[in-house]
Symmetry: C2
Subunit: 144 residues, 2 copies
DNA sequence: TTGAAAATATTGAATATTCAACAATTGAAG
DNA sequence: CTTCAATTGTTGAATATTCAATATTTTCAA
C-alpha cells in the first residue's frame, strides 16, 4: 500500500514546502520595496482592525513561535510601527496595537500583496486558485 | 476588483504558509524520533539514488540557500551520513554521496514519513489529497 | 591564447530563531 | 485565605540562517 521509495517530490509535505517557498519568495520580493519582512506585514494586517491583540493570539496569527515574535515585536516597537499595553483585565497579558505610522505602512503593503494575488490569478487561473484555497483551508481544518 | 482589505487568511500566500507550517510540524515530530531535521531527510532521500549530486542541485532539491546547505552538509559529514567528492569533470563542483550509515538511517526516516502520508490520507481523504497535490504541482509549474 | 565574465561553493560577520529557564499573574482546590 | 499549578510573556545562551565577500574553476569572446 505505502510507497516507501516514492521520490520526495510526491510527498505532500514537500509539495507544500516547495509551493510555499516560491510564493513566499515572490511576496518577500514585493514587500522588500518597503523594507518589510512578510511576518511584519502579517502582524500589521492583523493589528489593523484597531483592537488590542495579545502576544499569544498574535503568535498564532502570524505563524511565529512566542520568543521569535517577542523579538520581532521589539524591532517593530523600535520602528514605532506598533506599541505594547498591559492588559488591564489580565495583567499577565500584553496587548499589541498598531500605530498611525504602522497604519500608513500597512496600506502600502496591502496593495503590494494584492498585486501579487492578482499576478497569481493571471498566471495560475481563477478556478485553480479558488479551488486550491478551498483545499488548503480544509487541510488545515482536518489537521486540528 | 482587488480586495485590499481582505483578511490575511484569504491570501493564498498565507494559506500556503499555514498549511506548510502545520504539516511540516507533524513531520518534524515524527522524524525527531531519529533526531533528524526535515531538511536532512530530504537530503538523504535525494542522495539515496546512489549518484553524486552537486551542491547546487541539492540546494534546489532540498529547498535551502547555498550557504545554509553548505553548513548543514558540514554537520552531516561530521555525522558520517554523507561525504564530499570533487567533481572530476568540473572541478568547481562538489559531488555529494550518501554513506552506508546514511542509507540505513534514510530507510527508517522514509517509513516515518510514509506513516505521516498515510495519516493524512486517512483524515483528509484520498481524493482531496491527490487533487491538492495536482494543484500544488501546477502552481509550482506556473511560477517558473 | 589570453583575459574578462560567469558559475560554483565556501567563509565570516551580522542577524534571526530556538530551547530551556525564568518571572509575574491568575485560577482553583483545599 | 492560602498555596500550588497553569497561563502568559520575556530573557539569555546555543544554534541556525542570511548577506556580502572571497576563492577557484570554467567559459567564451577578442
Amino acid at each position: 500500500m505505502a510507497k516507501p521509495n516514492a521520490p520526495i517530490t510526491e510527498h505532500l509535505a514537500y509539495l507544500l514546502a516547495q509551493a510555499n517557498r516560491e510564493i513566499n519568495r515572490q511576496l518577500e520580493l514585493r514587500l522588500s520595496k518597503e523594507g518589510v519582512p512578510v511576518e511584519q506585514w502579517r502582524t500589521l494586517k492583523v493589528l489593523s482592525d484597531g483592537y488590542g491583540h495579545s502576544m499569544g493570539e498574535l503568535a498564532d496569527a502570524v505563524l511565529l513561535n512566542h520568543p521569535t515574535l517577542t523579538k520581532m515585536i521589539d524591532r517593530m516597537v523600535s520602528d514605532t510601527l506598533v506599541y505594547r499595553v498591559q492588559d488591564p483585565n489580565d495583567r499577565r497579558k500584553v496587548l499589541m496595537f498598531i500605530s498611525d505610522r504602522g497604519k500608513v505602512l500597512c496600506k502600502k503593503l496591502n496593495s503590494l500583496a494584492v498585486d501579487q494575488e492578482e499576478h497569481i490569478l493571471e498566471s495560475y487561473g481563477d478556478k485553480s486558485t479558488s479551488e486550491l484555497k478551498r483545499l488548503l483551508e480544509s487541510l488545515i481544518d482536518s489537521s486540528n
